[in-house]
């Protein structure tokens, strides 16, 4: 687990579904670089998708969305998919407002089981 400042925690778990990165806390201009760093070096040479679990995110702003878009494009260039999996209501609302819950070239938003 990594800690970025007081506002963010990141845990990483490799599962059959993919390389799961679980994020909790606040995603903003201060913490987005930590998320970018983790997304820039996903596990090994696997072709499994990188799945973001944002169910513990309590705040997200446009800085974090830009980081996700950039990371998704970089992963796509490397032949991997970035998927947004479980997410908090806060994240769902911002994805909807920015229309990033629809198809983008950068990442795939999975159906929310919640």
């Amino acid at each position: 687990m990594t800690q970025a400042g007081d506002g963010l925690s990141i845990t990483i778990d490799d599962t059959e579904a993919g390389h799961v990165i679980k994020v909790a806390g606040e995603l903003d201009l201060a913490s987005a670089p930590e998320l970018s760093s983790v997304l820039a070096e996903p596990a090994g040479a696997s072709t499994l998708p990188v799945v973001l679990d944002l169910s513990g995110v309590t705040f997200i702003d446009s800085s974090a969305l830009r980081a996700l878009l950039l990371a998704g494009r970089q992963l796509a260039n490397a032949g991997r998919k970035l998927q947004i999996g479980p997410r908090s209501d806060v994240v769902s609302r911002v994805l909807e407002v920015t229309q990033l819950d629809q198809q983008t070239e950068a990442f795939q938003v999975l159906p929310d089981p919640a």
Binding site: E26, D28, L29, F59, S62, S63, R66, V97, Q99
Partner: protein, 132 residues
């Protein structure tokens, strides 16, 4: 003019924070914004909207500006107003990020940014519920 006018601020609460462009201070900005909004009759959702709008406003200044950012927090008779000003690092290249614009469109009742020379000003308004 983006900053609240003197008339607007008559009989209102307002104060300024002068912040170095340190992203860690956005948590303080959000805390102050939601604290100020909680003094009004805004719903919990609207208080959250003020918090989000303040973050987007000040993040824009932290990224585009150089040096300190002055942030004015105010409650007028009609709205919660947060206004900011700073010197731009590169006035010619400033554009408002489309994601920021979309989020502010949704969470604020009004938002504006203006460049005058090398100074950037901006404000967000979240309307108070009509009284009576």
């Amino acid at each position: 003019m983006p900053n609240p006018s003197a008339d607007e601020l008559q009989s209102t609460t307002s104060f300024d924070l002068v912040l170095p462009p340190d992203p860690e201070l956005l948590r303080v900005v959000r805390l102050v914004a939601s604290g100020l909004a909680s003094f009004t009759d805004l719903s919990l959702d609207a208080v959250e909207a003020v918090r989000v709008a303040a973050d987007e406003l000040v993040s824009t200044f932290f990224q585009a500006g150089q040096g300190d950012v002055t942030v004015r927090f105010a409650i007028t008779e009609a709205s919660v107003v947060i206004a900011a000003s700073a010197t731009l690092a590169d006035a010619a290249s400033f554009t408002l990020d489309p994601l920021t614009d979309r989020i502010l469109d949704e969470v604020a009742d009004g938002h504006s940014f203006a460049v005058d020379g090398d100074e950037l000003t901006g404000r967000i308004d979240v309307n108070l519920p009509a009284s009576g």
